[in-house]
Symmetry: none
Subunit: 286 residues, 2 copies
Amino acid sequence: MKFMFLMPAMIQPLEQAIRAHYESLPAGERKIADVLLEMGGDLAAYSATELAGRAGVSKATATRLVRRLGFSDYQDLRQQARSAGTGSPLAELRGEAVAGSLGRHLEHDVAALTLTLEGVSALDARRAVETMVRAKRLWVIGFRNSHALALYARELLVQVKPDVRLLPVPGQTLAEDLSSLQAGDVMLMLAFRRRPPMTGKILRAAKASGAEVVLLADPSLGDVAEEASVVFRCLCRGANLFDCYVGPMSLLNYLCAEVALALGDDAQRQLRRGEQLHDAFGDFGF
Amino acid sequence: MKFMFLMPAMIQPLEQAIRAHYESLPAGERKIADVLLEMGGDLAAYSATELAGRAGVSKATATRLVRRLGFSDYQDLRQQARSAGTGSPLAELRGEAVAGSLGRHLEHDVAALTLTLEGVSALDARRAVETMVRAKRLWVIGFRNSHALALYARELLVQVKPDVRLLPVPGQTLAEDLSSLQAGDVMLMLAFRRRPPMTGKILRAAKASGAEVVLLADPSLGDVAEEASVVFRCLCRGANLFDCYVGPMSLLNYLCAEVALALGDDAQRQLRRGEQLHDAFGDFGF
DNA sequence: TGGCATAAGAAACATGAATTTCATCTAGAC
DNA sequence: GTCTAGATGAAATTCATGTTTCTTATGCCA
């Protein structure tokens, strides 16, 4: 278990408690346990309410897990996490640099991520979020590598918004779906390089329909980008053979989270509904 | 690249604010400032009430210091301390930071990317690459968010290797595809949290078939991960509602590029064939 | 000296966190 | 079918945190 070796020893008692109970935890409590495992040494900085929210369960469930794990209350658990954590051992354990090609790759990707996000204006981000929030329907579209990003974005958005569609539908032509695009709809388009020729036509068709377009592209997309309401230019050149998508992925994650935030209670309701169905379907066993 | 060497600087924005005001701080507020400087990266785990008590001054004085340092309230300060705990060394090297929630998001994602890739041993990476290179067939599998990553990985690999398959096939059950899994095959599995229950079964079935498994997962995947030949544990916790996948995405990009490199002329030939077909189909117009 | 500005803590107040209670649902046993 | 145990979230409740207000003390200046 290589990764565990790198975790600070300070959280081992809590982690052991979680793992000892994990198999027998009811679904809701297991969700919080997952969150606790991910937070690792940082959990003391978060309230039980936040952790519960992150896990998509109630505060009451959080309290029950805390009790089940053997702590008298959350403050007890937090106290243990704190007293075990003096300083920043994670930082100290890592005296070593990553060498070679992986190190160069990391260096490149950190720079791509940073430059992309630093090139985003808060105004553009807010406009994109507002646009997507007010959308009656959201259409997420991307081809080839952009399709993986579109799939990801759609997966996030559909958790918090009721009508989010992914294009292209496998094996189908686009005209049928695009024919119902109308004012009030929003298209989130991912259009990175090596795009099919019809990308620009889709963009123009969307605009002509009255729908708004939020566009993530790379700098090679020329003037046609002006058809979109909001455009984000991401750096995608890789350090190697393949293009690098950490920038767009991070930006999508951010925008979708901001959409959820702006939706407020509506997003929470949608999330809850989805979680209830997940539970009913037994979707997450471990 | 000594990112971790710079990690003690993770509270620099707060520390700088304190030092900028220090000379002009009234005595009581200076006592709390001292405590803040002492706590360093741990301060987010403590309440303002506790910090004030530790400094021997009133809560009101703590609130005043927080305001004097430019934070809107203690929660604002704590939020920054939490985000700064996974700070952005590159931004600091450049003497600039992106402000607000986007800046905090960037800081978080840079840290997640860095921690994930730094947790990868060159030996594991090489073994994963060798495993995939020698695969007669490559099966890439992931569910939900992991499916977007699986799609991405498959898209990269299929450019350089002739038989790369994506699972699950939409609308189909897995057993038919998995029944042909055999020794000599390799399964690249993406298994991040909120996995369907059958993930472990698939992993075991793959092993039982004689195929090898290269697994990317998060720390919550327990002992079943031992069934895989190589395991990469990625940090996925997000700075917000949604999980963060910049780490896995970057790692996949790296591994696939290394596969291409290791395949050498074979990869070049495959690429050329694909490009010729793209040209014949008129796939890229602009 | 008086006036003013600032610092500080106590207390009041507002808010949010966490626990408890209650109602409902589900699954399993009989 | 009924009954029971357990899980869960909403709502009520409790409690702690953090901010604001008020009062008092101190230091400086005219």
